[in-house]
């Protein structure tokens, strides 16, 4: 049952070989059982919400609604009406939103069932999920290792099949990196494809909601339901609505796949390198034409990102001031101490670090040297991609330079930032990108990143789908959770 695709589950439900409560109880049980080791989930619902069940039963009557009755978890930065939304932070420990994020309501409309909220790095800042105020998440493949971040809870939950689908968000790699480290498939769509309304903001110009699941096909189905123009989000694209369909071709003939050779050559981890080369070889065998390309400014991406994202976050997180909602210190004497103590107690170390960096980068006298320069680099990187996509349809690249690392191995923030080197360029350019499992190394998953033209999610999902037709890596599961 836990190896079934969304299309297969949908068929069983429609053929009445399985009821929605039966399907969901399998996953509710697994979620409760496996959460003790992984800590992937924060709040697990006791049972199916009756209103959601009603909506699911109704959606089941509509042939086009493949997601009716399919259980999922939401990363805990999607606001869920009446259900605590913590963002992995002490600051929002007791925050109950009075509204659903557009992503949440879109998926409810399709009849999906909410099992739980997924753990995450606090305010989506981190690459290891060690920065959650509610404890770190363990990688189901090796509980001593990190699942990646910031959507580590979502990735671990899908990897252990605690749910078949998880929503997630990606700012600089927060979907792709944990997806790769946990051996699942995940897509970050083009900026503007999915509404940001109700997603607690980290860096507004980069944040984008997406999905993790077992396969590219599953991701495509869920993304089709999530996306669309939203008048409540000014950065939502007017033509954001989109529908994934299974490709009719069975190979990759005529598809041009670009590879940044410097990136592959530069991989220090021999296992990851060989695995990546082999995966690209598989694409070639399936008919794709492999073309060497260059992204001359991509090496500046990490520096630019760690100016822009903290700058935006320093402003976005100002609203958490202890005045209207969220954590308020009991140790206050005046307005100043209310602010200082509420924020000092409510935020974790990594969040504070980024607020400080961002405040610095925007301050008068430094704005031009940091923020404006970073924006220029961002434009240069986007132009690099534009040139590359004149020659190729899809870019294939590593996701993470290494497999899942040990908990507490990377104590300081900066060495962790370097791990984002392959995911950040596409984020800065707002391009769609996904990660899918390829040959593992010493029993630990490795991912391959596929980057597409702006608003061309179809091409990367197609390449990933074809790859998954001839490989088995996406079916692999950690032994303990089979």
């Amino acid at each position: 049952m836990i190896q079934l695709s969304i299309r297969e589950m949908a068929q069983l439900l429609r053929d009445k070989q399985l009821s929605i409560p039966e399907l969901c109880s399998i996953y509710f049980d697994r979620a409760r059982a496996f959460n003790q080791q992984t800590n992937a989930l924060l709040k697990i619902n006791c049972d199916i919400d009756p209103a959601e069940l009603l909506q699911a039963e109704e959606a089941l009557l509509d042939e086009s609604k493949l997601l009716a009755g399919i259980p999922l978890v939401h990363k805990d930065l999607f606001c869920t009406q009446g259900m605590v939304t913590t963002c992995g932070s002490r600051m929002l420990e007791n925050f109950v939103p009075p509204y659903d994020a557009t992503v949440v309501s879109n998926l409810k409309d399709q009849g999906m069932i909410t099992v739980a909220k997924a753990n995450m790095d606090e305010f989506a800042m981190g690459s290891s999920n060690e920065h959650s105020a509610f404890g770190s998440v363990q990688n189901p493949w090796d509980l001593t290792r990190v699942p990646g971040g910031s959507s580590g809870g979502s990735a671990a939950a899908v990897a252990a099949r605690m749910v078949p689908v998880a929503t997630a968000t990606d700012t600089g790699g927060s979907i792709r990196q944990p997806t790769a480290l946990c051996g699942v498939t995940g897509i970050k769509p083009s900026y503007g494809r999915v509404s940001r309304y109700g997603m607690v903001a980290f860096a507004s110009s980069l944040d984008q909601g997406g999905v993790m699941a077992r396969t590219a096909d599953d991701c495509g189905i869920v993304l089709s339901a999530m996306c669309g123009h939203d008048h409540k989000d000014s950065t939502s694209h007017p033509d954001a609505a989109w529908q994934w369909n299974l490709p009719t071709l069975k190979n990759l003939k005529g598809i041009k796949v670009g590879v940044v050779i410097d990136w592959i050559d530069g991989l220090n981890d021999e296992g990851v390198k060989q695995s990546t080369i082999k995966a690209i070889d598989t694409l070639r065998q399936q008919g794709a034409e492999i073309i060497d390309v260059a992204l001359p400014h991509a090496h500046l991406a990490v520096s630019a990102y760690y100016v822009i994202a903290p700058a935006e976050c320093s402003s976005n997180l100002s609203r958490f001031d202890g005045v209207r909602y969220g954590h308020r210190s009991i140790d206050t004497a005046d307005l100043e101490t209310l602010y200082v103590n509420s924020r000092s107690e409510g935020f974790g170390e990594e969040v504070k670090r980024r607020i400080m960096v961002g405040t610095w980068a925007l301050s008068s006298g430094y704005y031009d040297a940091y923020y404006l320069k970073a924006q220029k680099i961002r434009r240069l990187i986007a132009e690099d991609f534009n040139k590359v996509f004149e020659q190729v349809d899809v870019l294939a690249a590593p996701v993470s330079p290494e497999v899942a690392f040990k908990q507490e191995e990377k104590a300081d923030g900066v060495s962790m930032y370097q791990a984002d080197v392959f995911t950040i360029p596409a984020s800065l350019a707002g391009l769609p990108c996904l990660s899918m499992p390829i040959q593992s190394v010493h029993g630990l998953p490795v991912g391959l990143q596929l980057i597409g033209r702006y608003f061309d999610e179809r091409s990367i999902l197609n390449v990933a789908h074809q790859f998954q037709q001839v490989t088995e890596w996406h079916k692999a599961m950690p032994e303990a959770y089979k």
Binding site: Y197, A201, S204, H231, V323, L362, Y371
Partner: protein, 480 residues
Amino acid sequence: MTIKAGWEMVVGLEIHVRLNTQSKLFSGMRASYGAEPNTQVSFLDAALPGTLPVVNQKAVEYAIRFGLSIDAVIAPLTVFSRKNYFYPDLPKGYQISQMDYPIVGPGRIEIEVDGGSKVIDITRAHLEEDAGKSIHDKYDRYSAIDLNRAGTPLIEVVSEPQMSSAKEAVAYMRAIYTRVTHLGICDGNLQEGSFRCDANVSVRRVGDQNLGTRAEIKNLNSFRFIEKAINFEAKRQIKLVESGGLVVQETRLYDAEKNETRSMRSKENANDYRYFPDPDLLPIVVTAEMIAAQKARLPEFPEAKKHRYIQSLGLKEAEAHTIAHDLALSQYFESAQEQTKAKADLNAKFLLGEMTALLNAEGVDISQSRIDAHAYAGVLEALAESHISRKIAKQVIETMWHSGQSAAEVIESQGLAQISDVSALIALVDQVLANNPDQVASYRDGNDKMFNFFVGQIMKQTKGQANPVQTKTLLEEKLK
């Protein structure tokens, strides 16, 4: 007040105009004034996590319309920026404003002072949201916050430092006020803070080319106070410099009761606002069509209106000026004129005379008049048709004010109509002459003053209702 000899002052103003749009600048919540505290607050206005701003198109249109009214350049691309600072009545921890790419670029406006005119350059005008309100004096140990105002739309109009007296500053403020109220983009309510300004004041010795250090006086919302505040501040600075002191750049508050300005905070304590483009809002492209649509909606401004009143309606300069510069008055005037055959000149004279006297006595302005333009037109009509005299008309409007009746009803019910019936008047004249033979003899002996005695007698008997022109003609005939 004139400034001390040897000195001159330099004043620049930042005027905040609250736009009278239905909803707030970035949320769909109502933006009306005076509701119960915190009853007009959306999730966005309270800055709940995950909420996002969506710009109110109406506010953008209003800003463009304002820009066109001051001959300004309208930016083809305009950007919202965040102004970051912490304060409890600023829920997001930043105000969405505009920095590098304001919607309205350089413009100008003409002001009139002491009979002369002067052009003041306007640097820019930009859109921004207002903050909420902090209330510090309501509760003992707490401050209260009302977020109804948070997010209401403003345009901030920034002038060049080109005013050289408090009088000029007031004239400039009035000129902008006239513009925004005529454009229909601001309700102009000063008490409610719909139109308020910050004044940047500095002084220098006559002939000095460099500007002195300026102080900013915050939140002035009355034409009278702004004049007093600027004069006080200039005097303070001159006194300070003459006694060897230095003006510090700071923000000051005007205390109307004591007529003085006090320091609020100096520049060293000023916030670094860390402006940057708001990533939640895309830049707005202002198209030629958007500008043309607003151009078509520009109303007639007072200067043009005054000209028209003189040229086509035959009004006198002074009357035309007074009516044309008051939007509510000119609307009342024109609306009444459309509904009567009375001459515009009579309309203007009666409106500025008897009608204004009545309004003053009642302590209200024309927009609160209990006699609407239609009812007022009825009075003009009765005057034009000679049914009543102006003296009676004054009595008629006083009655109308309290009874709510029409002019015709008042004239009818109180029997105020003039006696114009010739046969009735002849009988009256004959009777008066018969009753006063001595006076008739005296008149015929050449005592011309007696004529007015007869008129007076007739008016007395008719309680002023005899048609004065006809009465005089008849008397002249009978006394020949």
